[in-house]
Amino acid sequence: MRRKVYMIAGYNTLSMGTGRKEFNPKKERPGLEEYIREAGQGTLKQIGGAKHVDECVIGNFMASRFNRQANLAAFFPFVDEGLRYKPAIRVEGACATGGLALMSGIKSVLAETAEVVLVIGVEVQNTVKAIYCADYLAGAGWFKNRKTGHAYFFPGQFSDRAGSYFEKYGREKTRQALARWFRNAIENARLCPTAQENHNTVKDLEALAMMEPNGKSFVDHLNVFDCSKVSDGASAIAIVSEEGLKRCGIPAGEAIEVLGWGQMEEDITKPPTDPTELTTTKEAVKQALASAGITRDQLGTAEIHDCFTIAGLMCMEAIGFAEKGKGADFILEGNTARNGRIPINTTGGLIGWGHPTGGTGVHQAVTILEQLTGKAGEAQVEIPADRPYGLTVNMGGDDKSLVSIVYKKAK
C-alpha cells in the first residue's frame, strides 16, 4: 500500500429491536437521524471534534423505503455543525453497505484527498413489521426474482441453500451446528451491552434453536432463530492516515491498521453457481488474506456475515477454516466459540448483536478494533501473540457484494 491506513475511535449505538427490554414497537422511538447523530458524535468526541475531519462517508441500504429518506450525506452537518461545507458521500451495497463505506474511506485516505474520514453505517428498520421489512430487504436481490421469491425473500434464499446443504452433507448434524452457532451468538451478545440479544436469558439455547422449521408460516429449512435480527442501529469509526492519527491525538496502540482487503461483486442476475458454497465470499477472503500477506492460520479472531446461521457455517468453509462439507464439525468441535481456536463474532454477530443492515460492516470493524486493542470489555477474547490478525467478512445480497478486510493492532 502507498501509505498506512488506520481505524480509530469506534462507536456503536444500541442495536434496537425485539429482544431488548426497552423495545416497544407501539411506542415512538429514535429515528434515522438520531441514530446517525449519536454514532457520529460518539466517534467525533474521541478524535477531538469535527474540525479534524476532512471527509465523511455514510453507508445506508434502504432508508428510502424504511424511513422515506434519501440524501443522507446531508445529515453530517446535523451530526456536527463543524461538518458543514465538507465533502460527504452516501454509499449503498445492500448488507455490504457498511463494508463499502469503509472501503470508500480507505480509498480517500490512500488517494491522499483526506487524512481523516468519518464513516457512519446506519439502518433503522423497525418502522415496519417483519413481513414488509422482507419486501424492502428483497431489494438486495434482483427485483425480477421478487415475484417468484418467498414472502420472506432472503430467509427463503438461504433456506434453499440450507436445503441443498442438508441434502448434500446431511441434515441432523448440520442443524445441530446451526443451533450451536445460535448459542455462541447469544452467549457472546450477553457480554456486550449494546447487543440486541444482551437481555436474552434463555437457559437451553441449543434446544430452542432446534425448533423444527415450518414452511407453512415461514420457510422450509430454517427457523426464526437461524435468522439475524431486524434492527435499528448505527456504528461509526474514523479512518485515518499516520498524519490523521497524530492530528486526532490518538496513540497508535489504540488504533488498528488496515493490511489488505478483498472487495468484489458477482452478477446479481445469476443464481448461485453452487448453492452449498459461498463462492464470492471465498474469493474475497482469499484476496484479502493475499493482499495482507498472511494466511488464515494467523487470524486471531473474525467478524463474519451470519445473516443466517447457514451463512455462518458456509463462511467457515469459504474462509477455509473447514473443508467443504465439514463446517458443521468445525462448529460443533467448539472452534468458533469465544474460547475456541478462532473466536467468531465475539459480540454476537448479526444473529446476536443485531443486523442494522447498512451499519453491519462498520460494526464489524468496531468490534475488531475493540478486540485487537484490548477494549472489548466483558466480551474481550484473548488474541494470541502469534496470531495477531483480525478479519471481517461483509456480504451484500446472496453472496453478491463482498468486502473482506484484514487488520492488525497498530504499533
Partner: protein
C-alpha cells in the same frame, strides 16, 4: 348443493354487533378463500351484512379491514401462491392489500332484511330474544325461494323452539361462537330435534375450515357454556350475600372476585367476567334459561338491582371495558359498585382489611404463567394440594367455589346437556380460557 355453492350467497343478521361482526369476518374470509380458487373464477360471491344501524355498519367495514389485514399478514406465505398468476402483485404489501380488497368486495352492508331473501345461508347473531329471532327467521323462510339454512348463534335458547316457531323443518342448527369469534377457538354445535343431517354435516365442515374446536351440546337452554357460567354467577352472588354478616357488599364482592380469579387460577374474576359479557346480557340469558329449569331458580336479584341503577358493563366499540360491577382503569379493576350508595368504592380502601380476613393462603400460580406451560398439570396439582390443606377462611371459600364449579359441570352431564366430562372441560378450557377443566380431582 355443494359446500362451496351454499357459501356463494350468505347473509349475516346482526352483522355489526360484537358477535355478528366476528362471524361476518370469518365467513367473509372463508368465502374469499373459496372464490380465489382457480375453479371459482368468474363466479359471484355475495355476503350481506345486515344490521339495523347504518352507523354501526360503517364501523363494521373499518373493523373488517383491520382484522383482514392482520390475518393476511399472517398468511402471506400462502397468499403469494394464491396470487401467483397476478404479475402486477409483487411485494407482500401489494398482495396483502389485494386480499383485503377481495375479502371486503364480497360484503354488502345493508339495513334491509329483504337482502336475505336471496341467500342460501343465514347466520344469525341478533338480540337473545326468541320472539324476535322466530319472527325474522319466519319472514326470511317465507320469502326466500332457496330454502335457506339458518345458523343461530344463540347461547341459551333451545334450537328446537326456534325451528318449530319459525317453521323451518330442520333447516336450522345452533352454531354458538365464543366472544370474540375471530379469536376464540370454541364453537358449541347444537342440533334441534329435527335438524337435517346435511345441515349438521355442513356445520362440521364449516367449523373445520375455520379451524374451530367443536363441542356438541344437547338442545337444553344455556347449553354447556352458559350452563356453567350462569350457575357460577348465581353461586358467587349467593356467597356474597352469605358473607353479608362480616363484610359490606363491596368487600364481599371483592373477596369473591379475587377468589374466583387468583385462588382458582382463572383469567378473570367472576364479576369481571360478568362485566365483560355485560350485566344486561347475563341477566337476559338467565331469564331465557330459567323457564326451562323447573328444578332450580336461575335468577340473581343483584343483577336486577345493578341494571335498575344503570350499571351494565359490556365493552366500548374499541374492545375496552365499560364500568360495570367493577370500575376499570387501563383495563384493571380499581373500584366496586355499591348498589346501596349508588357509587363506586375504591378497592384500595378495603383491600387490606379483606385480604387479612381471608387469612393465610398458599401462593397461587399466576394464570398467565400456567396457561401455556407444559408442566401445567403438575403446577396446578401442587398448588391445589396446598390449598386442600389450608384452613383459613379464604382457603375454605376457594375450595367450596372450586367444588361447586365441579358440581355444576357434573350437573350438566346428569341433566343431559353435555355428553361427557371432556366436553364440559373443553368448553371451559377453550371458550373461557380456564387453565383447567372444572371436573377434576385436584381437591379430592
Amino acid at each position: 348443493m355443494s359446500y362451496e355453492e351454499r357459501l356463494q350467497h350468505v347473509s349475516v343478521l346482526g352483522a355489526a354487533g360484537k358477535m355478528g361482526s366476528g362471524i361476518l369476518l370469518l365467513t367473509a374470509v372463508e368465502m374469499a378463500d373459496i372464490s380465489l380458487k382457480p375453479e371459482n373464477k368468474g363466479k359471484a360471491f355475495v355476503l350481506n351484512a345486515i344490521d339495523v344501524s347504518d352507523e354501526a355498519l360503517a364501523g363494521l367495514i373499518k373493523y373488517l379491514k383491520a382484522q383482514v389485514l392482520k390475518l393476511a399478514e399472517k398468511k402471506v406465505v400462502g397468499l403469494r401462491k394464491v396470487y401467483a398468476d397476478r404479475a402486477d402483485l409483487i411485494d407482500n404489501d401489494e398482495i396483502i392489500n389485494q386480499y383485503i380488497f377481495d375479502v371486503i368486495s364480497l360484503v354488502r352492508t345493508t339495513t334491509r332484511l329483504e337482502s336475505a331473501y336471496d341467500s342460501t345461508m343465514i347466520f344469525e347473531a341478533i338480540k337473545e330474544d326468541p320472539d324476535v329471532k322466530i319472527s325474522l327467521f319466519s319472514k326470511i323462510s317465507t320469502n326466500n325461494p332457496h330454502q335457506p339454512w339458518f345458523f343461530t348463534n344463540t347461547s341459551s335458547i333451545p334450537i328446537t323452539k326456534l325451528d318449530q316457531g319459525a317453521g323451518l323443518k330442520g333447516r336450522i342448527i345452533g352454531f354458538h361462537f365464543y366472544n370474540p369469534p375471530a379469536i376464540q377457538k370454541l364453537v358449541e354445535i347444537i342440533k334441534a330435534d329435527g335438524t337435517l343431517p346435511e345441515v349438521e354435516a355442513f356445520a362440521l365442515q364449516y367449523a373445520k375450515n375455520l379451524r374451530k374446536v367443536v363441542v356438541p351440546s344437547h338442545d337444553k337452554a344455556g347449553f354447556i357454556g352458559n350452563g356453567h357460567f350462569m350457575r357460577d354467577i348465581l353461586y358467587a352472588a349467593t356467597e356474597v350475600e352469605k358473607l353479608g354478616k362480616e363484610f359490606s357488599f363491596v368487600e364481599a364482592a371483592y373477596a369473591l372476585n379475587k377468589i374466583s380469579q387468583d385462588y382458582l387460577v382463572r383469567p378473570m374474576g367472576i364479576f369481571q367476567l360478568v362485566d365483560y359479557v355485560g350485566v344486561d346480557v347475563c341477566s337476559f340469558i338467565m331469564s331465557v334459561m330459567n323457564p326451562y329449569l323447573p328444578m332450580e331458580d336461575l335468577h340473581v336479584p343483584l343483577l336486577d338491582k345493578l341494571l335498575a341503577n344503570g350499571v351494565k358493563g359490556g365493552q366500548f366499540s374499541d374492545g375496552s371495558q365499560k364500568d360495570g360491577i367493577l370500575k376499570y382503569e387501563k383495563g384493571r379493576p380499581v373500584a366496586i359498585y355499591d348498589p346501596s350508595a349508588k357509587a363506586y368504592k375504591a378497592i384500595s380502601e378495603f383491600q387490606a382489611k379483606v385480604d387479612e380476613k381471608l387469612g393465610t393462603m398458599p401462593t397461587p400460580p399466576a394464570w398467565k404463567s400456567v396457561i401455556g406451560n407444559k408442566s401445567k398439570d403438575e403446577i396446578l396439582r401442587t398448588y391445589f394440594s396446598q390449598l386442600k390443606l389450608a384452613t383459613s377462611p379464604g382457603a375454605e371459600l376457594s375450595k367450596a367455589y372450586a367444588n361447586r364449579s365441579c358440581e355444576i359441570g357434573l350437573g350438566l352431564i346428569s341433566s343431559g346437556v353435555a355428553m361427557n366430562e371432556n366436553d364440559v372441560n373443553t368448553v371451559l378450557l377453550t371458550g373461557f380460557f380456564h387453565a383447567y377443566g372444572p371436573i377434576n380431582n385436584y381437591l379430592k
